[in-house]
């Protein structure tokens, strides 16, 4: 694709109109996953293992089935046996067997909260009563949750049948290590040995939850003809369809998924938990079934992000140029193998030009739920370690930490650690903007300190489908397949309006079910505004071509003599030269010129570019209690081109605050019996309004030549730098390195008191 088409002179792109779905969402009318009801619907309840690891000797459902109103009971035995095939659903590919086993235990419960049976009844109360009466006979087995414990060669096996990774010649396998991922360039050891300055440290992070406020819920109906309809909120109805069909072992064409409004996902709703359960309960009962999770179930059984145990060693020359990096990262993935450690390795030094490095990633199983994507999956953990080390290095050299980063920043056209060219990236611009920001030079108060960090996310493009149709009054109808999780309807409408040259208010956007339009990958990976945006722009261009043909017919000339300019067809030659027809005028005559005007197309763009950001954080430490307050925070990010700047700022602010929560408050806490001790929002404390200052944002706009309007993905980058920005600030304030997250008051208090 060529350079951006309108180079900075936009009519609608870059404005801040009210989002099309706004009124429904501020009046309580929007129908979310937890709001949908089908006629004659049953209510489901799930029985979950209280043990982190146990063999299921037997399940007695007879008492449950005797409860009045109970219509169906399912266990793992009701799930079709499937060979371990890879599910083909765009990016969220994975093993169908793993997914099925995570949804319902088969012979072995693998974590506290693992589903072992489900019931459906005419009332919620009857379903809960029946669930209590299901008798599961467990043989409790040894469990392991902590990464270091699970990594050990003598660790108890997380489950039967683990395919342990081949760790190389002469290396004994470790029972719970399923992947070793080495990545190297140059000679890290030699460069380290000759480096003028070396820093090193060990960093620890606990698993954290995405923390979306809407719990999972699904309604499914399995009809007599074998067709299954599903209503749920997710980050992608098409991938819910593919995953559900794989787990149920039925044709994709037999599953239709209706997308409901989604109450937050952050990666955690790119997978499925309830849909096959509801479908099987429906198959048995012959009625629609709704299964919904409580908050406790969400914490115990759905996707946390990996915890990490990370060693970082960096070497720099006397001028502050980083000459060597040695990094070892161990990530948990729950009871099933995952891919985050790969992404972690890939993002470890994606933002620096380093000639010699040796990065080794390890995927470690533990008795926890199958980990799920969480905003820039795998990147924040490693970035915390690397960026804290860079700050240590800057301090050792007596260099300004932003100068240090500018000296090492990866430049446009560089080759990333994965071998691909990084293109028109904007890290240097972000660092320059951060350095020039008044925040960076503002004086600090007593007990305050400042931290900075920068980081990246590769972003993605991939398959999307969109259609644009005209109504005969000139209304423009955009249909697409990506759930609107943070204002994407507005962005799509703005891009359609810009392309067609019609006012934003003339465009309406529908998010279609899987039976109504072609495939789109999930709303995730920071891909939607980029890839689905291109699908919408291309569909709008298709409509323009049709309108040029129709105008030509009306003028009795060739379509080649008609140009589209600012929302109007303009005749260039012949008797009608200089005449114009508006979109509405052409639409009104559609019936007389060949029929309805509409264009649908699928695209698979991959000229997305990685996004980069730099964050500045001021903290204040209460020396008496160890409490840390974030008193000022600034996010600088290269966003390519902000289509709707308010929602881009929103991504930057929201991502930063999630990262601040990760740094200061959030962690999964398991007790010695392997049970989750903080499965609720009181004890798993996400940031609240009174914890936070305003989050200042600086949008650097360095256009992506691979998108007609210059878009780069923006959603994931902002959660990457906060962990180190906060962590380094606290370390400075207390005078000791704080390398274990979360930096809770007790840790700060201990550090201040010689602990």
């Amino acid at each position: 694709m060529n350079a951006p088409e309108a180079k900075g002179s936009f009519k609608f792109v870059g404005s801040r109109p009210i989002r099309p779905d706004g009124v429904e969402k501020v009046t309580g009318k929007a129908v979310f996953g937890t709001d949908y009801k089908a006629a004659n619907m049953l209510h489901g309840a799930i029985v979950r293992s209280p043990h982190p690891h146990a063999r299921i000797k037997s399940i007695d459902t007879s008492k449950a089935e005797a409860v009045p109103g109970v219509k169906a009971v399912v266990t793992g035995a009701d799930f079709p046996s499937i060979e371990d095939i890879i599910v083909r659903t765009g990016e969220s590919s994975g093993s169908a067997l793993d997914m099925s086993t995570n949804i319902m235990a088969k012979g072995e419960a693998l974590y506290d909260g693992h589903a072992v049976a489900a019931v459906a009844a005419v009332t919620k109360q009857a379903a809960l009563e029946a669930a209590r009466l299901i008798a599961v006979d467990y043989e409790v087995l040894p469990h392991v949750i902590d990464i270091n414990d699970a990594f050990a060669a003598e660790a108890p096996k997380v489950k039967e049948g683990i395919q342990a990774a081949d760790l190389g010649e002469g290396q004994a396998t470790r029972p719970n290590v399923t992947m070793k991922f080495p990545m190297a360039k140059g000679d890290a050891a030699a460069a380290m040995a000759s480096a003028a300055h070396v820093v090193s440290g060990h960093y620890s992070l606990k698993p954290v939850h995405q923390g979306y406020i809407e719990p999972h819920a699904a309604v499914a109906t399995w009809k007599a003809d074998g067709k299954v309809d599903v209503w749920c909120s997710s980050q992608g109805q098409f991938d819910v369809r593919g995953l559900t069909a794989s787990v149920l072992h039925i044709d994709v064409g037999n599953v239709r998924v209706m997308p409901l409004e989604i109450g937050g996902g952050f990666g955690g709703k790119t997978t499925i938990y309830l849909e096959p359960v509801a479908a099987l309960l429906s198959k048995k009962s012959g009625r629609p079934v709704r299964v919904a999770m409580t908050r406790e179930e969400v914490f115990r059984a759905t996707g946390p992000a990996p915890g990490g145990e990370i060693d970082v060693k960096l070497g720099a020359d006397a001028d502050g140029k980083i000459v060597a990096a040695e990094i070892d990262l161990k990530y948990s993935s729950g009871a099933f193998s995952g891919g985050d450690v790969w992404a972690g390795a890939a993002h470890s030094i994606n933002h620096y030009a380093i000639e010699n490095y040796a990065v080794t990633g390890w995927n470690v199983l533990c008795n926890m739920p199958k980990h799920a994507a969480y905003r820039a999956p795998g990147a924040p953990q490693i970035n915390f370690a690397v960026e804290c080390a860079v700050n240590d290095l800057a301090e050792k050299l007596g260099m300004d930490p932003i100068e240090m980063r500018l000296k090492n920043a990866v430049l446009p056209g560089a080759t990333g650690p994965m071998g691909n060219t990084l293109g028109e990236i904007g890290l240097v611009e972000c660092l320059e903007a951060a350095k020039a920001h008044p925040h960076y030079s503002a004086p600090l108060g007593a007990n305050q300190a400042r931290g900075v960090a920068c980081g990246s996310w590769m972003n993605y493009g991939g398959p999307s489908t969109a259609a644009v149709a005209l109504a005969d009054d000139g209304s423009v109808l955009v249909t697409e397949g990506n759930p609107d999780i943070g204002g994407s309807r507005a962005s799509m409408a703005l891009m359609a309006a810009e392309t067609l040259g019609v006012p934003y208010e003339k465009v309406s956007v529908t998010i279609a079910d899987t039976g109504s339009i072609g495939y789109s990958m999930v709303t995730g990976g920071s891909r939607t505004t980029y890839a689905t945006g291109i699908a919408v722009i291309e569909a709008a261009k298709g409509v323009i071509n049709i309108m040029r043909e129709r105008a030509a017919k009306m003028w009795e000339c060739d379509a080649g003599d008609v140009e589209w300019d600012d929302g109007k067809a303009v005749c260039k030659t012949g008797d009608n030269a200089g005449k114009t027809l508006t979109l509405a005028e052409i639409a009104a005559k559609a019936g007389a010129t060949g029929g309805p005007i509409a264009f649908e197309n699928g695209v698979n763009p991959l000229q997305h570019l990685p996004g980069y950001g730099a964050h500045i954080c001021d903290v204040e430490v209460d020396k008496e209690t160890g409490n840390v307050s974030v008193v000022r925070y600034t996010v600088v990010q290269d966003v390519g081109k902000a289509i709707h700047p308010a929602y881009v700022e929103g991504q930057m602010q929201g991502g930063a605050v999630q990262g601040i929560g990760w740094a200061l408050n959030e962690a999964y806490i398991y007790n010695k019996d392997g049970r989750l001790d903080n499965a609720g929002f009181l004890d798993y404390r996400i940031p609240v309004a009174s914890d936070m200052p305003m989050i200042d944002t600086v949008m650097v706009e360095k256009a992506n030549p691979g998108h007609p309007y210059g878009v780069k993905g923006v959603g994931e980058v902002p959660i990457v730098p906060p962990l180190a920005a906060v962590g380094s600030a606290v370390s400075k304030a207390v005078g000791k390195p704080m390398r274990s997250l979360p930096i809770s008051p007790d840790k700060v208090h201990a550090a201040l008191n010689g602990g």
């Binding site: 083909r88 790119t270 891919g339 790969w342 071998g419 691909n420 990976g525 891909r527």
Partner: protein, 83 residues
């Protein structure tokens, strides 16, 4: 047809090619590359469209049917899932 250097990034090198990560082969398109890699590492083709991305001389190429022309290098990478 000039030959093209293939660089296989982890984890595919170990998973399919016994740890070998460099190949030299001749192919018109990425379809040809995938088919030949599948002969060396059986099963690779089945997973390639799901898990792999291909960078041709540094640029990620989504369309496997585009002519490789006189491309020097194809890098086989894992796709990155987003959140």
């Amino acid at each position: 047809m000039p030959s093209v250097k293939i660089v296989v990034m982890p984890p595919f090198d170990r998973e399919f090619f016994g740890g070998t990560d460099r190949f030299e082969l001749t192919a018109k398109t990425l379809f040809g590359v995938v088919n030949q890699l599948d002969e060396i590492g059986p099963g690779f083709a089945d997973l390639a469209d799901v898990r792999a991305a291909f960078a041709v001389d540094g640029e990620v190429q989504p369309d496997w049917s585009v002519s490789l022309g006189d491309a020097k290098e194809v890098i086989v990478m894992q796709k990155v899932a987003g959140g």
